[in-house]
Structures are given as C-alpha cells and as structure tokens.
Symmetry: C2
Subunit: 326 residues, 2 copies
C-alpha cells in the first residue's frame, strides 16, 4: 500500500488542471453520464455504491474522453495529417470518432482476427483500417509504417498524458455529482482511466481511498504494486477484453504513488457480477466494467472498514450480444 | 381514429386529479425514472425520441406505480386482510412488493408453468403463492377461492381505477421533464398504462397526439378501435409476454375516446428494435417495451407529419437472460 502524501511530491504526466481543461473540451460533445444507484447491490456490498455509467458514453465507453481530449489538443498542422493508433477495442472507436467529429483522417491498425462488429463500428466512423497479423509486434510495426507514410500523430491508448487527463474527467463528474464519497474504484488495463481517476480524486478528495480492480488472469498492476516495480503483462487470459494490456511508464508512475490497493477477482466472479448488474440495474456493461463490481461484492473488500460510500466507474457497454458468457 | 374533444365529455374511471394524487403517494417510494435520448435512434426514426425508462422502476416495470397506488388506497380494515391477484408477470411482482412494503399479506395465483425466475421474484417479496393449471379459467376460480377464504382485496392488473391512475404517473413525469412533446406512445396489453397515459397527456398537453403500439399477434386493441367496439383477445401469439391480455371495460372507455391511432408491428420488428436499444442505448428492455420503439422506426410512422418530439414509455426490463431472442 502506497499513499501519495507519504512520498515526496513529483510531477505526474497529468495534473488536476489538465483534467479540468479536458472537462471543458469534452463538455457539450461527450455525455455527462448519469450516476446510478441500486438498493439490491448496496445490500449485497454492505455499503452505498455509486455507479458512474460510462457505458452510456459516446462510443459506449469512457475511452471517448481521452481520445477526444488528445485529438482536440493537436495543432492545426498536426490535425491536418490525421491521427493513428492500433487497437481492436474501444480506443479504436474513440480515436476514429473524435477524428470524424473534427473532420480529420484517422488510420486504425486492427488485428485480422478482430470481430466483425468492432471492425464495422470503426468503419462507420470513417477510419481507414489496416489489418495485420494478430501480434503486438505486427501491430506496432504496421502502425509505425502508417505514421511515417502519412505523418499522422500516434494517439497512445493510455500512456499519452492528454489521454490520461481526459479519462480523469469521469471521476471529476462523479465527485461533483455525489457527496461524501469515501472511496473510488476502477478497473486497470493500461492504467489510463485509473491514473486520471487518481489525479482527480486525490486532488478533490484528499482523504478518499483509491482502489484498482483487476482480473486474476491479467494482474500485472497488482503484481507491480506488490513488487514496487512495473512488471509486464504476461500471457493474459481473461474474459475482460479491455484489460489485457500492461501498464505504461506514465500510468505506473501515477498509480504507484496514489493507489491504496489493487484487488483481483476471478473471471467467474466477473461474470456473476456482470449478470447481477444486467438483471438488477437493467443496464448493459461489458466484462471489464464488472471487475470493480466483483471486487466490491467480495468478502475481502466488504470487510474493509471506514468506507460508507464508494464510487465505481462502469467503463463501457460494448458487448457482442450473440456471445454472452451467461 | 377517435379524438376526445369531438365526443361529448364523459366520466372516466380515473382523472388527472387521481393521477396527481397517485404521484404524491409514489414520490419517495418509487423511482423518478430518467428520460434518456439517443442520437442514433433519433436518426433512424427521423425525429427526437424521449425514452421514459420504466425498466429502471421498482420491480423492473411501470406496474409498480399502479400496484403501489391501489394498495395504498385500501382502508385499514381492507389492508389488514391483504391483497391478491393472478398474474405470471410484472403485476404479480408489483402487488407482492407493495404489500411487503406496507407490511400486509399478499396472495398471488400463478400458473404452474410460470418460469422459476418469476416465481422466485414473487417469493422474495414474501407473497403466498398458489399454483394452478395454466388456463384463465383456473386462474380466475383459484383467485376467487382465495379472496373468499382470506377476505383479501383483489387488485385487478389494469381495470382497477387506482391502478390506471398510478400508471398515469409515468407520463406525468415524462411531460414534466421534457419540453415540447408533440406525441406520446406506449404499448397496449390490458390498457392500464395507455389509459393512464391518455388521461395525463390529454390534460397537460391537449394538442399532443396519443398512439398505442401492439404486436400483430395480440392486436385486440387495434381491431377494437377499428371496429368501434371492444373485441376480445383471441389466441394471442407474440414474444411480447406483457401484452397477451385483452382490454378491460374501463381501459377501453378511455382508449376509444383519446387515442389518435394504434400501430401494429411484427415480432421480428420487435426483436430488431429490442436489440437496437440494447446495443445502442446499453439498457435492458423486455420485448413488450420494444413494441413502441418498433412502431416509431417503421416507415409508416416515420411518414406522419407534425411530430418533432415524441415520448416513448419503455415499460420494463424483466428478461430471462438465458433465453434471448437474438
């Protein structure tokens, strides 16, 4: 457990001022997503839960926030050459959508085994898609080629400071809308959302606890925090398709100095939590979103003292309805 | 097409004052459900759609409103003997939940082929369940027996005036929350929701159009309006399990004098609309709820002139996730 005010202050890649500036850029373009509550889930968790519903965000995930902020901050010259990234998931949609809204080109590298539904979503946002072999190596070299040929700016999905600041706006709205939060919890993939959440929460609620949630099958952040150094994600194996990636240098630097703890859960717990949210809250969340829900429903987390009101960021709702795990 | 102000005024079983009184009873007990919008669906429908999300209501459906209002209006003597009804669906849950909250007994007659998930929901609300053969005749006689033995008050699912007034509160909130509605549309089963919606809407927005939505496989209200007399529901066959019943005398009397038209859609259109709402709005609605959505997406409805802003009541979200139609 590492608490920020016990370590000397350092410069992080994004500040609360960056988050506030991002919020201004996002206002009126993205949705101010609702915060929902549910009595049954409160009972099961033993405390009040406040769900920040980023599944209702543009492109169906919080990723819109960071993508929009990063694209908005390009110079006119940069913007004219467009943006590019590699992703098979929500970040691809976020970048493509932001570019479309700005009227600039986007180039998205996707693995040739990406589900058709995701491919089509990105295509609908007018992105130029390049398919490559489904390896990280192939994705990186293909992206490098495209960036060199087109001059497009690479928008990294989580290590980009403007992306981190954008993701921090979800917690900003959550804290504005809910009084007396004692804690905030979010899932950790590359750490962009969690980093932004840390910056915002520690600034506005200095005494609130900050928790990360990870599936056991992709627990690099958990292991990293335990070891005190950034460890790679190795052979991730989880249903949480948004949490397969490892931490970046910028996100790790923020997480290690802000997080109170990271809790891991099994895929079975994730699926159970996901189904519970669907059945009881009548909202659609993807497996990654269910990870923090599974954590707050676990006996270990329920035993923690001093937390009456906890904010949970539900990260997205992009699910293939024909392939449900229940 | 029958318009109210062309017919002489008559007394309906519920008035706007009854609806307002019901709203006071429901306030703080039921949810003031949100009104959601969605750009993609607006584009597809060619106008602005305002979705009143009763899938987020207590017990997962608007039925809570009428059930709670009717149970609240019992005298102390009546209440002490409890309430009873026959239903395999959302009304059973509504009555059982209302009784539990009031601390009075409830007796629910359910067909012996009712899905276990619905049985358990009603059981969780502490109702005494009596199973009977799955015929309307058996349900009625079993209910009569119970009412006689226990002295419990029968709460009819839609023909009860207090139920109608309660259901009218959904439209009341919708009209309070959205400016400039030109029309309101809701599904028709027994007609309780649509009747309450008519009373409220015609009173607050005298010029707004009122539309009913029915599946082709349970189109008794459509046929009744066409013939000018209440016709029975015969061998209903539709995926919309909340719309299988026929109209009551009280609901028909309101509908025939208020509705501008009833539009029917096929089950295929309903399933398509339901999937679209799940995918795009990330909310869970049951097939009955998708009926008015399917109507507003139909070419025939899109061709109607003079409707810029339409309110759609999404009636409920109680779906068996293991038996999805897509």
């Amino acid at each position: 457990m590492v608490v920020s005010h016990q370590t000397p202050m350092k410069k992080y890649s994004a500040s609360i001022d960056d988050v506030r500036a991002a919020a201004k850029r996002i206002k009126g373009i993205g949705h101010r997503t609702p915060v929902l509550t549910n009595e049954t889930l409160d009972l099961l968790a033993g405390r009040k839960l406040f769900f920040k519903c980023e599944n209702f965000q543009k492109v169906g995930a919080f990723k819109f926030r960071g993508g929009w902020n990063a694209v908005s901050l390009l110079s006119d010259d940069e913007a004219s050459k467009g943006v590019c990234t590699h992703s098979s998931g929500n970040h691809a949609q976020a970048v493509a959508y932001a570019a479309m809204m700005k009227g600039i080109p986007s180039y998205i590298v996707m693995p040739n085994n990406a589900p058709k539904v995701k491919l089509n979503a990105v295509k609908n946002y007018k992105a130029k898609i390049t398919l490559c072999e489904p390896t990280l190596e192939a994705r990186r070299t293909t992206l490098d080629d495209i960036a060199e040929k087109t001059g497009a700016t690479v928008i990294h999905p989580f290590n980009n400071p403007n992306v981190i600041a954008g993701q921090g706006t979800a917690a900003l709205e959550l804290i504005e809308d809910v009084e007396n939060l004692d804690a905030v919890i979010a899932p950790i993939g590359g750490g962009g959302l969690m980093s932004g959440t840390c910056i915002t929460t520690r600034s506005l609620l200095p005494n609130a606890k900050l928790y990360g949630a990870e599936p056991e099958g992709a627990d690099d952040a958990y292991r990293s925090l335990k070891e005190g150094k950034r460890l790679p994600q190795e052979n991730p194996n989880t249903i949480c398709d948004g949490l397969l990636t490892g931490l970046g240098e910028n996100t790790w630097n923020i997480l290690k100095n802000h997080l109170n703890a990271i809790h891991t859960v099994t895929d079975d717990e994730v699926i159970k939590a996901m189904k519970l949210v669907w059945e009881r809250m009548k909202i659609i969340i993807e497996p990654s979103s269910a990870t923090p829900v599974a954590v707050v429903l676990s006996d270990k987390f329920k035993a923690l003292e001093g937390i009456e009101n906890i904010g949970i960021i539900l990260t997205g709702g992009n699910v293939e309805l024909s392939k449900l795990p229940f």
